[in-house]
């Protein structure tokens, strides 16, 4: 009899574990997850002791107007750069609205996009980071998970002309852009002066300069080829010089038809291949990651570094030696011989931003918070003060006079631009196209795939 009791107890224990394991935990899903990856911020720590998720909302609402907004962000570093800017605004908002608490869950970009998809299937957090580019937004908008915003509300928010376009579908607005990104060649001014090198005006000059730099024993351009997308942005930059203002039409036409045989695309790809062949990039560029590549430049081993304007914060980064940090300058892609692009036609776009979930239980509050973030003296101003690059709004009112030379230069580049390319080529198609081009571009640049095969392969990924 005793054994029978023990057996029954054991079985019951097993069943209990099973049931606990299978139990639905829908309500607390966004707040649970990997403790290491999830950062939760609650007002003054008061909320931390409360149960997470819907139960907290319910309890709050019953006690009079308490609201919890869940923010899902792609900025896990809350102490530096853009993540710090975001957190500062959140803290200010919670201080100004004591009844609102904002819970942040932050993951880095790739993990973010994966979890975003999981959320899209089973209830999204209230405010989310998004990218206003077809490779990300098309599928998301098709699934109908984002709330429509009223464009009229943002007339006074001084958004740069055209910056909202990527966040629209059928003329309806679904998100707001955070940054303006410009593709740049960062260079080490001191190294240039010491060696008598000059900023190139044409692509041929650039090739000659790279040969000189190589002869001097340095890497000409540090390129993050391991990730694929920086090289696709580089190709975009060349294509803008080759095709000029026709860039967007040529690319959207190619994506729509799956035919990338346009002479401009072919020529731009060939220029990329020739440059890589001539040793413009470091040895092994096609397998090196972001950090390693950036270090080549910030350690003084490479004379130039090809990346977007978000890396302007290098000029304020205390970890970089002052003799390099203070000498970082930038120029844009030089003109290509016979190309239609001018020196002021630049590769720039408005990529990252925010949106509100369509099914949010606190949609109005979430939109109110979104609008607060985008008040011109918030994201734009704090972003500028923290050197995180250019926002998608007019920032001229927030110049402090203490800007780094690099910041001023980038500001001028944007001010003097005669045309802006819009979305880089890899983000112009569906995400299958993005995955394909970011992998295939490694093959074509290192010579293992021919230009024809490359163009055919990326075309096939659009179909």
């Amino acid at each position: 009899m005793k054994k029978k009791v023990i057996a029954t107890l054991l079985t019951a224990a097993m069943m209990a574990t099973m049931i606990a394991g299978c139990g639905s935990d829908k309500g607390s899903a966004p707040a649970s997850g990997d403790a290491q990856n999830v950062q939760e911020q609650a007002a003054g720590g008061e909320k931390a002791a409360e149960p997470a998720g819907d139960s907290a909302d319910a309890a709050g609402e019953a006690s009079g107007g308490e609201v919890t907004i869940k923010l899902f962000s792609n900025l896990p570093d809350r102490k530096n750069g853009q993540g710090l800017v975001e957190q500062t605004i959140i803290d200010e908002y919670m201080a100004a609205n004591p009844n609102v608490s904002i819970e942040v869950e932050a993951l880095d970009e790739e993990a973010y996009k994966t979890k975003f998809k999981a959320y899209a299937m089973d209830g999204m957090p209230d405010v989310v980071s998004i990218w206003g580019q077809p490779s990300f937004l098309d599928e998301v908008l098709d699934a109908g998970v984002l709330a429509e915003l009223n464009e009229e509300d943002y007339i006074d928010y001084s958004f740069i002309a055209g910056s909202l376009d990527g966040f629209k579908k059928d003329d309806k607005l679904y998100g707001l852009p955070r940054n303006t990104d410009i593709m740049l060649f960062y260079y080490n001014q001191k190294m240039f002066e010491d060696n008598g090198w000059e900023v190139p005006a044409t692509y041929d000059d650039l090739m000659a300069l790279c040969a000189d730099i190589k002869d001097a024993g340095f890497t000409p351009v540090a390129m993050d080829g391991g990730d694929g997308w920086p090289m696709a942005c580089f190709l975009t930059d060349i294509l803008v010089q080759v095709a000029g203002v026709d860039y967007a039409d040529i690319v959207s036409n190619a994506v729509a038809t799956g035919d990338f045989g346009a002479p401009e695309i072919r020529q731009a790809t060939q220029i990329l291949v020739d440059s890589a062949n001539a040793g413009m990039f470091q040895v092994g560029y096609d397998s090196q990651d972001y950090g390693t590549t950036m270090n080549l430049f910030t350690n003084g081993q490479a004379a130039m570094y090809c990346m977007g304007s978000w890396d302007c914060s290098m000029a304020l980064n205390e970890d970089i030696a002052p003799e390099i940090r203070d000498n970082i300058r930038a120029f844009t892609m030089p003109t290509v011989d016979g190309g239609k692009g001018g020196a002021n036609d630049i590769a720039a776009w408005n990529g990252g931003g925010y949106a509100v979930s369509a099914n949010s239980a606190v949609k109005d509050e979430a939109i109110k918070f979104l609008n607060y973030m985008y008040q011109p003296d918030k994201l734009s101003k704090y972003g500028w003060e923290n050197g995180v690059g250019l926002s998608a709004q007019d920032q001229t009112a927030y110049l402090t006079g203490n800007e780094t030379e690099l910041q001023k230069q980038v500001m001028d580049i944007l001010k003097n631009a005669t045309s802006i390319s819009g979305t880089p080529i890899n983000d112009c198609g569906p995400s299958a196209f993005k995955t394909a081009i970011e992998s295939e571009i490694q093959g074509v640049s290192n010579g293992s795939t021919s230009v024809d095969d490359f163009l055919a392969a990326i075309g096939a990924a659009c179909k």
Binding site: M18, T114, V140, T219, G226, V283, S287, D289, T435, S439
Partner: protein, 291 residues
């Protein structure tokens, strides 16, 4: 006690948790995978049935072909390089006796204790053309050219070396345990008969290790097929899919390219291959045992 174990409700309640786990954590996901493999599901929105389209595309997908070829290369590398060395090292360790045995056993097992993320970054630095250990060694010998260890042509071999090195400790430990289980009397008898080390190894150790070798080979092939995390962190399948493995490719297609249906089709083919390989291995080993 006997009565208890023949009581059907008790038996049923004891195996029920196991069956439920199998049903919901293994069988149900496989069935869902098979279903999604026939759809164009992107992971969001609605799924539409597309018949065998994903599978026909898969057979024309060169990256998938390359990932299977790489898995095969890895399996061969495990069986022909890692395991022979592991057996010999295990046999030598067994002969060392005393303190040295424990120390070397620990040293050889260290790579398995270190996290995969650390291993991947460690080797990333070792292979770096600018400041990597390998190129610095070459430079010390007067070879100044920067070798690109992770180039399109070299990368797969560099990745194989890491994987073989990393998995070595497990193989060795299992062989070592197998050797420890061999009756020492056999070795004593052999030495009385005048057998040297090699003869003992080939005539006593190896034949008696057969079941251990079988288990190890099966595990090696399965781990070659399942390879994902080291590759994901070391090269992420690049440059241009030259170091792609099936599991990593599945992840990329399903979660980065938003081709969830296609990813599931890869998963289904993957399961079929794993089952076929396991059945084939069992048949081969069974034949040998019968003979």
């Amino acid at each position: 006690m006997k009565k208890l174990y023949s009581n059907k409700p008790v038996i049923f309640s004891l195996i029920l948790p196991g069956i439920l786990v199998f049903l919901f954590a293994v069988l149900a996901p496989i069935c869902l995978s098979i279903y999604y493999g026939f759809t164009d599901y992107s992971g969001m929105g609605e799924a539409h049935l597309v018949g065998f389209e994903n599978y026909t595309n898969l057979f024309h997908d060169s990256a998938f072909g390359r990932s299977l070829r790489n898995s095969l290369l890895l399996a061969i590398g495990f069986i022909c390089i890692q395991h022979p060395i592991a057996i010999i090292v295990a046999a030598v360790l067994d002969k060392l006796q005393g303190k040295a045995e424990g120390i070397f056993r620990c040293i050889y097992f260290i790579p398995n204790v270190i996290s995969v993320a650390v291993i991947a970054y460690l080797w990333k630095f070792i292979y770096n053309p600018d400041f990597g250990l390998l190129n610095n060694i070459l430079r010390a010998f007067g070879y100044t050219e920067k070798v690109n260890w992770l180039s399109q042509q070299n990368a797969i071999w560099s990745v194989l070396i890491v994987l073989i090195w990393h998995g070595f400790g497990w193989g060795m430990l299992i062989y070592y345990t197998g050797i420890k289980n061999i009756d020492p009397v056999l070795y004593e008898a052999a030495s009385i008969d005048g057998a040297n080390w090699w003869t003992t190894f080939f005539r006593i150790t190896l034949p008696l290790m057969k079941p251990v070798i079988q288990i190890n080979v099966t595990m090696a092939i399965i781990s070659a097929l399942k390879q994902m995390e080291t590759v994901y962190l070391l090269t992420n399948g690049g440059p241009n899919n030259s170091t792609q493995f099936a599991a990593n490719y599945l992840y990329q297609q399903a979660f980065k390219a938003f081709k969830y249906g296609y990813g599931n089709a890869i998963g289904v083919i993957f399961i079929v291959i794993c089952i076929l390989v396991t059945v084939a291995l069992n048949t081969i080993f069974k034949d040998k045992q019968d003979a």
